[in-house]
């Protein structure tokens, strides 16, 4: 292609902006953002935490599930400015270290509970939250499936995800040797 004069292209729009400060995966962050920026886009594109996936942008699929002030939340139905002052954990903050997986992550791997992996961070966040909120979880088939029914998976047929929930509980109860 013949080299042409570099075009002058815009770098930003004229959206009103506001400063937000929040804690993400234990780290305090402050950014100036468009007031209509979704929390999911904020996490992904402002902070570079791209493990929070966006599958439908209308709160049905659950791919964008994060932990917001201790509860599972849809980051695609939340504005970044609404999360001002909040504490958020994304999938990147679930594993205790770079070498060790969280028992829920480990269980998903062991049980072949993921294929394409796109829904997986949302599922893992939902399951981790469930265990954090329930000291004595009901691990019957129906109860686990009900708990999982906020997240869509198009690859696995869910069966191995159900197994992974039980396996994760085993790992958490009996330690890594289970």
């Amino acid at each position: 292609m013949t080299r042409q004069i570099r075009k002058v292209l815009p770098r930003e729009n004229s959206d009103p902006r506001r400063e937000v400060s929040l804690t993400v995966n234990g780290e305090a962050v402050t950014r100036r953002v468009s007031t209509r920026l979704l929390l999911s886009d904020f996490l992904r594109h402002e902070l570079g935490l791209t493990g929070t996936h966006v599958g439908c942008e209308h709160g049905v699929c659950g791919c964008c599930t994060v932990t917001l002030d201790g509860a599972a939340a849809r980051s695609c139905l939340t504005l970044a400015v609404q999360a001002d002052g909040a504490t958020i954990r994304t999938i990147e903050g679930v594993a205790p270290s770079a070498d060790v997986l969280h028992p829920v992550q480990q269980a998903f791997h062991e049980c072949h509970a993921l294929q394409c992996g796109f829904c997986t961070p949302g599922f893992i966040n939902s399951v981790v939250c469930y265990f954090e909120e329930n000291e004595n979880p009901d691990l019957s088939e129906d109860s686990i499936r009900e708990m999982l029914s906020g997240n869509l998976c198009r690859c696995t047929g869910y069966q191995n995800i159900v197994l992974a929930v039980r396996r994760a509980h085993e790992l958490m109860t009996n330690g890594a040797e289970a």
Partner: protein, 799 residues
């Protein structure tokens, strides 16, 4: 690792990064200064475009460019017809941006490029398009009438293709048959709905003059070829990479979607990276769908239920365009006799244009429709003759001694004969009958009925021609520094676990652990011979290519190791990443050392490399360091091209409880017997089946793309298009049968699509069985929704 890894439940190698959220899907790839695309899309199913005014959009803050068909130079073409066929006499394909006419709601009319998606979407609202709506007909049977409004003005009766295939002498067989069964069945439109929608990003490098494209496609090499051709670039100047892809199921094998041409074009024009991340609504109105077919199928049989002949005539909805040719209808045609010995077949179809989202293969690709037609017909034949459903099937299944069983005259979607290569069809049916325990179920059904509960047994048999050509290839190199085995192939992966099964295949030949095999695919920069991931072909075609290549590399390793260890090649054992003399494991050299020694060096960049430098004793030589005809390193390339498709098969059954008051259904048990030849990794095979069944359950009961009579989509979102959650999908009891395919060295068959094929039949036959005491009418249409059950029970239609 001394035991074979082929056939083992090796845990997936791709998981570690995915469970941490560290996958690299296209929108995750950091591209500094990237501009974002949004499209102006047609709000009408069929209309003339009088004018398009983009001025207001172009002036908005944050907008970089707005394109219409007048602004895209050489891209303003009808996009490629991918699979031409003689019967496809009226092929029409779409333009990247509409010119003069629009043909479905959602068609791309103009493209906005802006600083972010928010701004780009705002600007699409500022593009003023003056449309003149035209009449439409969405009903297939009405669309082929002479007076129906035409989708394409020059295509009479909206018929894109008309094709008849014949095997044997169907007319003669019909003339001498004793019993005839005829039904009309319908399968409705659905969509793949991968959880990652389609996505593409592109960057033009002004220094190297290379176009880098990240495309969530199942066919990166094919996209590369097409892009180079259409943009007028050398193929080597275009690199297409499919990184992590969040599910495909066929929707992403279609090329080209408008964005796949327009985004690279805009990146070249604007000198900034450009990306288009499809949203869910766009996936429903812009990305290909599949399924609607109406079959009229007729069986000619003896009084004993032996099928002598089959006639099937069907209408196939192809949407507004037919870029993928007649592939789906052809697969349906050639799968229509299922697993049965039907010596005489006449199958005919018409592919019909409707002003709707275009139709290309979605997991199953015509097989679910064919399966539903033949299996429903067989159930009706059994009913009419007073035969048991299992028994009528048993009498007609191809016997073990009849393989290979060729359906002379039928040509499959690969242009090759339909020949069922191997199987134990009768045994599979016996296995499922035993596993269910039919006697016990009959008692349970009776007891339930006494309590006012309705249990039914669903049963469906399927076949699947898998592993289509033309070919795939493989390149393997053992890395001299790490000793790791690098494997390339031309496919891309959408979550199936290619990296694991391909590693298992290579690992067995080279005596390493699968975790030491690094599979790199989906990148034309790494390997660029091959076709795509489709038709349950990866394990068969790429798998065998990798196997053949690994055998070549193994021979190189053995030769080099024998030299280094001063032993006979026959005595060398490859194990744990080392070669040693049989019985003397301490006399060993590592693969890294062998690879290093196979590459004469001038510079010693590490300890092992010293052995390969010019003054080292081991590499001392009197002549050239590489003899004439020798190549450095441990490396080979090979290809596999199948003689024709290899036919997998299986049978599904379910115990279904129906509430005739609510007309709701519940799967009590779901059982699958399947045979995909030798299994490379049973865990991954089971994953494919369970996922397929889940999609099948969706298509059987929940998922239907709905259009109103004007061609407006009515449920283009996840609130209204009902994908089953964990609460709707039953656990699947899977029984494996392994009959090797005689067609390929590994003896494997494909399994990717199998799970979804018979589920509609399983549900319909199960509901029919459950509600038989209430005298339910025919169930010959899926998805079989509660209101359809209500009507079949005699309920009044709610107009």
């Amino acid at each position: 690792m001394s035991t074979a890894q082929f056939g083992e439940r090796v845990q997936r190698l791709a998981d570690a990064k995915l469970v941490r959220g560290e996958g690299n899907y296209i929108d995750d790839i950091p591209l500094d200064g990237a501009l974002h695309v949004a499209f102006v899309r047609s709000p009408f199913a069929r209309a003339k475009i009088n004018s398009i005014d983009c001025e207001a959009a172009r002036e908005m803050d944050g907008v970089a460019a707005v394109y219409t068909s007048d602004d895209i130079g050489r891209l303003d073409i009808e996009m490629p017809l991918l699979i031409p066929h003689p019967s496809l006499t009226q092929a029409r394909t779409q333009r990247p941006l509409a010119r003069d006419d629009v043909f479905y709601v959602g068609q791309t009319v103009a493209m906005v490029v802006a600083v972010d998606r928010y701004t780009a979407e705002d600007a699409t609202r500022m593009v003023d398009v003056d449309y003149e709506p035209l009449g439409v007909e969405l009903d297939l049977e009405a669309a082929i009438q002479d007076d129906a409004p035409r989708v394409h003005a020059d295509v009479p009766n909206n018929i894109a293709a008309h094709f008849v295939q014949t095997s044997g002498d169907p007319d003669g067989a019909f003339a001498r048959a004793e019993h005839f069964t005829k039904i009309r069945v319908q399968v409705d439109r659905s969509t793949a709905a991968p959880l990652e929608c389609r996505a593409i990003a592109a960057r033009w490098d002004t220094v190297t003059e290379e176009l880098m494209v990240w495309d969530g496609t199942q066919a990166p090499i094919s996209v590369r070829g097409g892009l180079a051709s259409i943009l007028g670039l050398d193929e080597d100047k275009v690199r297409v990479t499919a990184p992590d892809v969040g599910g495909g199921f066929g929707q992403k094998v279609m090329l080209f979607y408008p964005d796949e041409l327009l985004v690279p074009y805009a990146a070249m024009q604007l000198g900034r990276p450009v990306k288009y991340i499809e949203d869910r609504n766009e996936n429903f109105i812009g990305s290909a769908q599949e399924r609607t077919q109406i079959h009229e199928i007729e069986l000619a049989a003896t009084k004993d239920g032996e099928i002598l002949a089959l006639r099937d005539s069907f209408l196939h909805d192809t949407g507004a365009f037919i870029p993928y040719g007649i592939a789906i209808a052809q697969v349906a045609s050639t799968s229509i006799a299922g697993p049965y010995r039907v010596p005489n077949i006449r199958v005919e179809f018409k592919a019909i244009y409707t002003p709707t989202v275009l139709i290309t293969p979605y997991r199953g690709c015509g097989r679910p429709q064919a399966c539903f037609a033949i299996e429903r017909a067989l159930d009706k034949l059994a009913d009419e003759l007073g035969l048991d459903r299992f028994e009528v099937r048993r009498r007609n299944l191809i016997r073990d001694d009849e393989f290979p069983y060729r359906r002379d005259g039928l040509v499959f979607a690969d242009g090759l004969p339909v020949e069922h290569d191997s199987g134990q069809y009768g045994r599979a049916l016996d296995m499922i009958a035993e596993h269910i325990d039919l006697v016990a179920f009959a008692e349970e059904q009776k007891a339930a009925l006494a309590e006012g509960r309705y249990l039914g047994l669903g049963l469906g048999y399927y076949v699947e021609g898998t592993g289509l050509g033309p070919y795939e290839g493989s390149h393997i190199r053992i890395h001299p520094i790490t000793g790791k085995v690098y494997v390339n192939t031309g496919l891309s992966c959408q979550g199936q676990g290619h990296e694991t099964v391909f590693a298992q295949i290579a690992a067995d030949q080279l005596g390493v652990d699968a975790s030491d095999v690094i599979v790199v695919e989906g990148d034309t920069g790494a390997f660029d011979w091959g076709v795509a991931t489709f038709a349950s072909r990866a394990a068969v075609v790429s798998g065998n290519a990798i196997h053949k290549t690994a055998i070549k590399v193994r021979a190189q390793v053995l030769e080099a190791a024998a030299n280094m260890l001063e032993a006979a090649q026959e005595d060398i054992v490859l194990e744990d990443g080392k070669a040693f003399v049989n019985g003397v494991p301490e006399m060993a050299v590592t693969l890294a050392e062998i690879a290093t020694a196979s590459n004469p060096l001038r510079y010693a960049f590490n300890e092992a490399a010293k052995t390969s430098t010019q003054f080292a004793p081991a590499s001392k030589h009197d002549g050239p360091a590489l003899a004439e005809g020798e190549a450095p390193g441990l490396e080979a390339t090979d290809y596999y091209s199948p003689p024709h498709a290899t036919w997998a098969y299986g049978v599904h059954a379910a115990i279904i409880e129906v509430d005739p008051g609510l007309c709701s259904i519940k799967f009590r048990r779901y059982i699958c017997v399947h045979d995909c030849g030798r299994m490379i990794n049973p865990t991954l095979v089971e994953g494919q089946i369970m996922g397929g069944v889940a999609q099948g359950v969706g298509g059987a009961h929940y998922e239907r793309i709905e259009y109103d009579v004007d061609g407006n989509p009515r449920n283009a979102n996840f609130m209204d298009f009902l994908i089953p959650y964990a609460t709707e999908v039953p656990p699947v009891e899977i029984l494996h049968l392994e009959t090797p395919s005689p067609l390929n060295p590994l003896g494997v068959k494909g399994v990717g699509e199998a799970g979804c094929i018979p589920v509609g039949q399983v549900l319909a036959s199960g509901v029919a069985d459950a509600l038989a005491p209430l005298g339910i009418g025919p169930l010959e249409h899926v998805p079989l929704t509660p209101d359809m059950i209500f009507h079949a029970l005699g309920g009044e239609k709610d107009e």
